[in-house]
């Protein structure tokens, strides 16, 4: 039965490039962040191949330094930061709160164009000499000594920052003003809470990185002495400013992923999430405390002992709300009705990897231990567990969960489960050896290394090839499913959110009638519309009312 949805409402390139429909804009984002993901992934592949032998296998030192720098810049600023908010957040927030669109649809489109403009500057930098400063742009290396194309890159990241700020603003206003009748704050899906917290970080943090990189650019172009000691500046000042944004930026990446997991787990355990208000509150706590821990990146810069003590203490505090989330997700499984559907496998994978990533943060926050493991592969492993094991698993898991809503089609389940397990195995094989390398003393950003580190490096590269397969598979079958997948229907899982009470794919206006919310979040008991054993004593034989 052909009916009109947001995909077939209008046709032609203009209908996409000039759209103000949040769902179409989300798909524009999906396309562009995927391109940056594969650019960054290509660099990562070359890095891992190069490190197969101690003397380096593939490229010159200059090229190697450019590879890891461009990998970081592409992945962090142009994939991880926009991925979940701009794709899934854009698509789902209005649907989840029962709104027709975001509060500022045209600004939403502008966000994407700003991102594309910033992306063009960065790609121009990559293509005309590359970038070899490290994604951290530490001065005076970036502002004076580097001979690579630093200026277009910092301009690109500066521009891209406005995209983040506008998206954050749009989300906050939307969540405050456009909730459907009955959608109170404590009935909001936890995905929305997570995005609210993320938006706060985007709005408050992004201006600082923009200004910081601008100052580094001005020092480079006009020799103004902000950070260069020869001109009276201080290189440590750059690090304070840089990490004031870039540490909270980690929470921009991980909070939305935590939001995704908080949707998947109750859906596939078919019960209310354990400790709703604690999970919602912990998102806000992470966003707030996350702003107060930046100088834990600087324990060995010679910063004052008192500063180091303060920032170590605060870093341990920010661990608590993350722990609260993990304990609540785990408890949600207790006495659930758990299925093994693909999104749930991603959620389990997320918990396992985030657990390792989060716990190893405790090692790095420890002052006495950080003097050994700082700037080694231990750090590299730690943040990949958070950003790839956490954020990317959340993103890919979320794509699977909402794919039927976005496209109206189901993906091939068996293949999808295989890919999820491949990703999990490949990821661990790639990054776990790097913890050991780090403790053994291998510094990061080395194009060549002492021969005793080779075995672990080869293991890591072997893992990376499995990981690459794990990313290619979903890419292929998800694309395939858009045309050939089984038709999904409104609510295939079924799940409780408002987004599942409209058609798949949704109509341009999202809902034919503005919905009214009368139920609590993740409530499977009092929802006869879901067609489950509603109201029945749980775990009793299902009598089914469908």
């Amino acid at each position: 039965m052909p009916h009109e949805d947001y995909l077939n409402a209008r046709y032609g390139i203009r209908s996409w490039l000039l759209t103000t429909d949040h769902k179409r804009i989300a798909l524009l984002w999906l396309g562009s962040v995927t391109v940056f993901f594969f650019i960054g992934g290509l660099f990562a592949t070359m890095i891992r191949i190069h490190l197969l032998t101690p003397t380096g296998y593939l490229v010159t030192p200059e090229t190697y330094n450019k590879l890891f720098t461009m990998h970081g810049v592409a992945m962090i600023f142009f994939f991880l930061i926009p991925s979940i908010p701009a794709v899934l957040g854009n698509f789902l927030i209005p649907l989840m709160i029962g709104a027709k669109d975001l509060a500022f649809p045209r600004i939403n489109l502008l966000s994407w164009y700003i991102y594309m403009l910033g992306g063009c500057f960065v790609l121009y930098s990559f293509a005309t000499g590359g970038l070899d400063t490290g994604w951290t742009f530490y001065t005076p290396l970036s502002s004076i000594y580097s001979n690579s194309a630093v200026t277009p890159a910092v301009i690109g990241i500066f521009i891209n920052g406005f995209s983040s700020i506008l998206t954050g603003l749009n989300f906050i206003v939307t969540i405050h003003t456009m909730r459907a009748p009955g959608m109170t704050w404590f009935r909001l899906p936890l995905f929305v809470w997570a995005h609210y917290a993320t938006s706060l970080v985007m709005i408050l943090g992004t201006p600082v990185i923009a200004i910081t990189l601008l100052l580094a650019g001005l020092e480079r172009m006009f020799h103004l002495g902000f950070f260069n000691p020869a001109l009276g500046g201080d290189p440590i000042l750059f690090q304070h400013l840089f990490w004031f944004y870039s540490h909270p930026a980690v929470y921009i990446m991980i909070l939305p992923a935590m939001g995704v997991i908080s949707e998947i787990i109750p859906t596939f355990a078919r019960k209310p999430i354990f400790g709703y208000s604690f999970i919602a509150g912990s998102s806000i706590a992470i966003a707030v405390i996350g702003f107060l821990v930046w100088a834990h990146h600087m324990f060995v810069t010679g910063e004052s002992v008192y500063a180091a003590l303060t920032f170590s203490f605060l870093s341990y505090l920010v661990a608590i709300p993350s722990a609260v989330k993990v304990f609540n997700w785990t408890s949600t499984l207790y006495k659930g009705s758990i299925s093994w559907d693909t999104p749930m496998i991603y959620a389990f994978g997320f918990i396992g990897l985030f657990l390792i990533g989060g716990l190893t943060g405790l090692f790095l926050a420890c002052l006495g231990l950080d003097i050994h493991i700082h700037d080694t592969y231990f750090v590299v492993a730690h943040f990949h567990y958070i950003m790839v094991g956490g954020a990317v698993m959340g993103y890919v898991g979320g794509l699977h969960f909402w794919w039927p809503k976005i496209t109206g089609r189901l993906y091939p389940e068996a293949l999808a489960r295989t890919a999820a397990i491949t990703l999990f195995v490949g990821f661990n094989l790639t990054f776990f050896p790097q913890f050991i390398l780090g403790y053994l003393g291998m510094p990061r950003r080395y194009h060549t290394y002492p021969p005793e580190f080779q075995v672990l490096n080869v293991l890591s590269t072997a893992g990376a090839s499995i990981l690459a397969l794990g990313y290619l598979l979903p890419m292929l079958y998800l694309t395939w499913s858009m045309r050939y997948g089984k038709v999904a229907g409104q609510n295939p899982w079924p799940a409780t959110g408002l987004e599942w009470k409209t058609d798949s794919p949704p109509p341009t206006e999202n809902f034919d009638v503005t919905p009214e919310v009368t139920w609590e979040p993740y409530d499977f008991q009092n929802r006869p519309d879901l067609g489950l054993a509603a109201g029945a004593p749980s775990l009793a034989p299902a009598h089914g009312d469908d």
Partner: protein
């Protein structure tokens, strides 16, 4: 000597066993939580696996006592990690007063070290076992980091700053040192070897290869005359600038009434930014030497000024603050 942790470098300094103990402590706590959560997930996963397609779970909304427990217990454990880590760190950041001072300069892409008698080394560092060693770190260009895995310590080498690090080597041998702060093209080959020697061997090595003209005190004295420092900083305190006799390590009274301890960083700042801290009773007359001295020359001047500690301090004109005992 405790037994070696698996997957860890050799233990060759006083800090190594402490850092490894911390590692073991935090690993055991984290392993407990990781295993507990993983086990819970696996057990729930099989025990509560969906048995019929339209079954639902038991609606349990939460438990405040449980929430409190899993906030408070991890918080206590986290504070233990913080506290223990802080003890080790505070020790690391405060070098013992009688440590052997060795100057280390990082530049793209090599390390230069200078022993107390002036002996210079490149990408090598010789230290005596059993003796506290303090490295005074300076950079000619970008930020570097001096990292010795076997000692479990590192410190950034920041242009425009003096950072210091210390350790007591415990075991003779040869150990890698690395640059662990990314510093440009050849960052990965900016490393070398620390050689820990028995004290007698170290003394023989030092005396066997030293040259007087390389002595930083001698070089500093020459510079002190060449750069005309001596015309104002007159030793008997009658010059236009304070006498520097005995100034190193003393408290200096400043024009704004505050006092500052004259350490390496203060001497360096006074050479490069003379107006940053004016000694009480003197005019801000001194020109800056920013950009006119290499890091090595600054180190030589510092070494010379430090050597003036044994000289008699003039009654007036030294800028040294009267101690409370004297009052």
């Amino acid at each position: 000597m405790q037994s070696q942790l698996p997957f860890s470098p050799e233990q060759a300094s006083n800090f190594a066993p402490h850092v490894d103990d911390l590692m073991l402590f935090i690993t055991l706590i984290c392993l407990f939580f990781a295993v507990a959560v993983t086990f819970a997930i696996i057990i729930f996963f099989f025990k509560y696996h969906r048995k019929s397609p339209n079954e639902v779970g038991v609606p349990i909304h939460g438990d405040s006592r449980l929430e409190a427990a899993w906030m408070i217990v991890p918080l206590i454990l986290a504070m233990a990690m913080f506290g223990w880590g802080a003890v080790v760190y505070v020790d690391y950041r405060h070098a013992p007063p009688d440590a052997l001072d060795i100057y280390v300069i990082g530049k793209q892409w090599m390390w230069k070290a200078q022993q107390p008698n002036g002996l210079r080394e490149i990408n090598e560092l010789h230290v005596p076992a059993g003796r506290d060693v303090r490295l005074i770190l300076a950079s000619e260009d970008v930020i570097h980091d001096f990292f010795v895995p076997a000692f479990r310590v590192k410190m950034d080498v920041v242009p425009g700053h003096y950072n210091t690090m210390w350790f007591r080597p415990t075991k003779p041998g040869r150990y890698h040192f690395f640059c662990s702060q990314y510093c440009g093209t050849n960052h990965a080959i900016m490393g070398g070897w620390v050689t820990v020697m028995e004290p007698a061997d170290y003394a023989a090595w030092l005396s066997g290869s030293s040259g007087a003209e390389a002595n930083p005190v001698v070089a500093g004295e020459k510079l002190f005359a060449e750069k005309a420092c001596v015309t104002c900083h007159v030793a008997n305190g009658t010059g236009r600038a304070p006498s520097l006799n005995g100034v190193y390590g003393a408290k200096v009274l400043l024009a704004d009434g505050s006092t500052v301890v004259a350490d390496e960083a203060y001497i360096r700042e006074s050479i490069l930014q003379p107006n940053a801290k004016i000694v009480a009773g003197y005019q801000p007359l001194m020109p800056t030497f920013q950009g006119q001295l290499t890091e090595e020359q600054i180190l030589s001047l510092t070494a010379y000024i430090k050597s003036l500690q044994s000289q008699p301090v003039p009654a007036t004109g030294s800028g040294i603050a009267p101690t409370t005992e004297k009052r």
